[in-house]
Symmetry: C2
Subunit: 237 residues, 2 copies
């Protein structure tokens, strides 16, 4: 928690915010060892961040002075990440990695090698996903909440949604065996598509290439999805 | 398990290997749904890899034909990774990420902001570390076992060991606020140093710069150690 991220519900007045949930109160007490008068890094969800004083701390709440928040959050990555739905624990970590790296749009996609049971996972509960987004933002000192969508049909996504997403954006399909190595340090707005464990099937690859994606690879090593997400984002941007 | 990694103990003759541990037997049965006659990807620890037949599979053992292994493992990364000892769970994942990306030399370093209790963690048991190295190799289809060392004194490491390590190698200290952005796609042999949560302290940074390291940063976002390890390796190499 490198930033105390304040949701709209936490804001009392334009100068005052109040945190009441056990997770943040415990963290303030046990990790920050916070006490009244401490100056901490605060940020308002989808707003500014900066330094502010901890005005009071009890078992029930922590109050902060938010009158001096004046910094813009760090720049987002210019990418829409499309991720074949990973297994639940991998999903949680992948969301946190991607959020901390600055991804603001994430689509979770069905594909042949995604186990159908993954779509029933409690990790897909919007409240759970929100929690991982918050953890990623708190880690990276960012305030801009990403949006997460699901696309439970591969064909409608690739035929109807993907062509729209690719208007003005570079489509990059990360898949082992593609002819081109992942480019480095691009400036383009991009859509980055990453397959499930076991990869996209050939037909899916063909459909994405037909839709206008470039196929890229990260070398002969096969990476776990969460490692691949971070490695691709770090190399591309 | 994209590769069945065979240790010296698993080799029966030059053409035959035998796997007996429950982890791999269960994985073969439940994930691979393996059956006699299947052709699988096999590799000998610190040796060649390739395809080989599953000759038999019982509750106690799986036998493989290893007579046709003829491929070299993927190229290693030309880097010695020096990681301030992370908290135990983060350590396990960082080792797996780094191994799957091709790191072959890892030093776990003490620094001021490493909690002393981390050095007592069962995760530092050599057998535990070996397990995470194996998982990283199996993931990436690699056979070359990394070496992991510990350096429990920062000063002896930076004054005695680091200058030796930097002979013929580029020293890269990843630390927030350093003047230069992390370079991309370098070919140099390198030593990459990554701090603990909370970062190296100023004195430690000075000592590493004095020893000949260049300070590099990954931008204003603060990343978890395991995310930073992958992001730095993916951007550098």
């Amino acid at each position: 928690m490198n930033l105390i991220l304040l949701a709209q519900d936490d804001i009392v007045t334009s100068t005052r915010a109040r945190v009441r949930d056990p997770r943040r109160l415990t963290h303030l007490r046990q990790v920050h060892r916070a006490k009244c008068g401490d100056i901490m890094t605060l940020g308002i969800e989808n707003g500014l961040l900066g330094r502010g004083e901890l005005l009071s701390l009890t078992d029930e709440e922590a109050c902060f002075d938010i009158s001096a928040l004046d910094q813009a959050p760090p720049a987002p990555l210019p990418v829409h990440l499309v991720l074949a739905l990973p297994r639940p624990r991998m999903l949680a970590r992948s969301i946190e990695h991607a959020t901390s790296l600055g991804v603001k749009r994430l689509t979770l996609l069905h594909s042949r090698r995604v186990e159908k049971s993954y779509w029933q996972s409690p990790e897909l509960d919007p409240a759970k996903i929100h929690q991982h987004l918050v953890l990623g933002l708190e880690q990276a000192r960012d305030t801009m909440m990403p949006t997460v969508e699901t696309a439970k049909g591969f064909r409608p996504f690739v035929e109807d949604d993907l062509p729209e997403l690719l208007k003005g954006r570079r489509g990059l399909l990360a898949h082992p065996g593609m002819p081109v190595a992942c480019p480095r340090g691009i400036d383009d707005e991009a859509v980055l598509l990453i397959g499930p464990e076991g990869g996209f099937i050939d037909w899916e690859v063909e459909k994405m290439l037909e839709a206008g994606c470039e196929g890229i690879h990260l070398g002969e090593r096969i990476l776990r999805v969460e490692t691949a997400v971070t490695a691709l984002l770090a190399r591309l941007f």
